[in-house]
């Protein structure tokens, strides 16, 4: 997103046939199939693999991790302490940063939070913040809030897509062509979100501003309230947050040997088609940062 020159970024993936790979190549990134090579030539390492694969990656690149490296994990539910524990067998003071982002980073409107590990400095955090701020909003949080962030903005786009689908249905029911309905619905949410972000006012006040007495909007809102709209959204955020904690807990308790998981998972990974987003790419993408951009 313009913060870092493409040639300073290296991406690594074992499988070169994936669309992600050609996409990255086209942007001018360096590409390799060797995770080890990537580590050697980089300062900041983004681990963008699925959570169960994190242990292997750490095993694999661990020996090459040096004090200068900043390891950034975007894996849901994988704690800083678990990564530090794994790496400390190789490096005494590994710098670890954990982040949680969301899919709209693709359009540079992501919502990202990060938490810094024991040995990560303030500057390390700021560097990650600068990188992620280029694709949206980014701020630091305490690690124990990351589950809540997952529930809200991690899963949030899915709630929005569901809402937009339904709004479009409403539009179609009342006579609009589908395409137009989708376009207008999305723009309405985009505009509302923008108004809220740019305003000092409480969303309740902004809502009131739209509701003229006895008018169309207040009638519609009454329906939303009757359906328990607000509580459904609260429930959703809560459920996503709780599930994240459950998965993390399950992962922590995992006693199966990495080797055993590795085979089944890698086979599975090859069948999946990854998306371009940082959060769900199924290959290791590692970014170099030879000299921090100013």
């Amino acid at each position: 997103a313009g913060v870092l020159a493409a040639h300073k970024i290296t991406a690594s993936s074992p499988d070169t046939d994936l669309p992600t790979v050609s996409g990255l190549r086209k942007m001018g990134l360096n590409f390799t199939v060797s995770n080890k090579d990537t580590v050697k030539s980089s300062d900041v390492l983004f681990l963008a693999v699925k959570p169960p694969i994190i242990p292997f990656i750490l095993e694999e690149v661990g020996p090459d991790i040096e004090a200068r490296h900043i390891v950034v994990s975007c894996a849901a539910g994988v704690t800083i302490s678990s990564i530090e524990k794994k790496l400390s067998t190789f490096c005494p003071t590994p710098k670890v940063i954990r982040c949680m982002t969301n899919t709209p980073v693709i359009v540079r409107e992501g919502a990202t939070v990060y938490a810094t590990g024991t040995h990560a400095d303030v500057e390390d955090g700021k560097l990650v913040e600068q990188l992620m701020a280029s694709v949206g909003f980014c701020t630091e949080v305490e690690e124990d809030l990351i589950d809540a962030v997952t529930g809200l903005s991690g899963s949030g786009p899915a709630y929005a897509f569901t809402a937009l689908d339904a709004l479009a249905d409403g539009g179609v029911k009342m006579g609009l062509p589908r395409r137009l309905a989708v376009r207008l619905g999305a723009q309405a949410l985009l505009g509302a979100a923008k108004m809220l972000l740019e305003s000092e006012q409480h969303p309740g006040q902004l809502k009131d501003n739209v509701c003229s007495p006895g008018g169309a909007t207040i009638h519609a809102l009454h329906f939303l309230e009757s359906g328990g709209f607000r509580s459904l959204l609260i429930n959703a955020v809560e459920a996503s947050c709780i599930r994240t904690r459950e998965l993390q807990h399950l992962a922590d308790q995992e006693k199966i040997s990495p080797a055993a998981i590795k085979k089944t998972l890698l086979d599975k990974v090859k069948l999946e088609s990854p998306s371009l987003s940082v959060a769900s790419a199924s290959k290791v993408s590692l970014f170099t940062n030879k000299s921090p951009s100013s």
């Binding site: 006012q201 409480h202 309740g204 006040q205 309230e225 009757s226 359906g227 328990g228 607000r230 509580s231």
Partner: protein, 244 residues
Amino acid sequence: GKVPAGSILASAPSNKNLDAWRESGCRTTHCNLEVLQESTLVFLATKPHVLPGVLQEIRPAVGPHHIIVSVAAGVTLQTLQRLLPAGTKVLRLMPNLPCVVQAGAMVFARGSGAGDGEAALLKNLLSSCGLCEEVPESYINIHTGLSGSGVAYVYLFAEALAEGAVKMGMPGSLASRIAAQTLLGAAKMMLESGEHPAKLRGDVCTPGGTTIHALHQLEKGALRATVMNAVEAATNRACDMAKD
């Protein structure tokens, strides 16, 4: 306290209700016409079905100097004006119960014969009983649904709050007093700060704390929609009754 008691004359067919007036120092009578003769500002506070009869009775004594204020629910300005001499200054007032403790919410609408002076006089006088605002007549039924009946909704809510506390182990009478004070305090903050209630609500909710947990329960129960339904039902009923 705006008008000396001695300047107030109350009329009723029997003494049943007049004792209270006399105790306050007001003069009393059984003759409606006497009120019209002695007073400029006249409040008609009969039950709605009795009012037309009273209007017929006092009509001959009503003059251009009189200001007639009706408190009868559902009796429109149109009806009042029809039963009184043309051009009479008529206003219609809808108070609510807490006027008795000077914390009322009142709205009034003026008829075609009433001017700014009369409206200002009424507002000034009644402000000593609480909030008093002039509105278009169409808002009066809404006021009924919101605040006239609304007082009962609050009592219901207070009762439920107290019951929750009793369930959790607090004695009932203490719970009741605390419930009432909570409502009073919250209302006072809302009136004095002028802030949006949603903002005030947010200010009480510490992340992951007790309040947000409780609010979630309220949202699950669709409390907001239920309350909207209540206001709507009462308003509609007021409209229907006015037509009768």
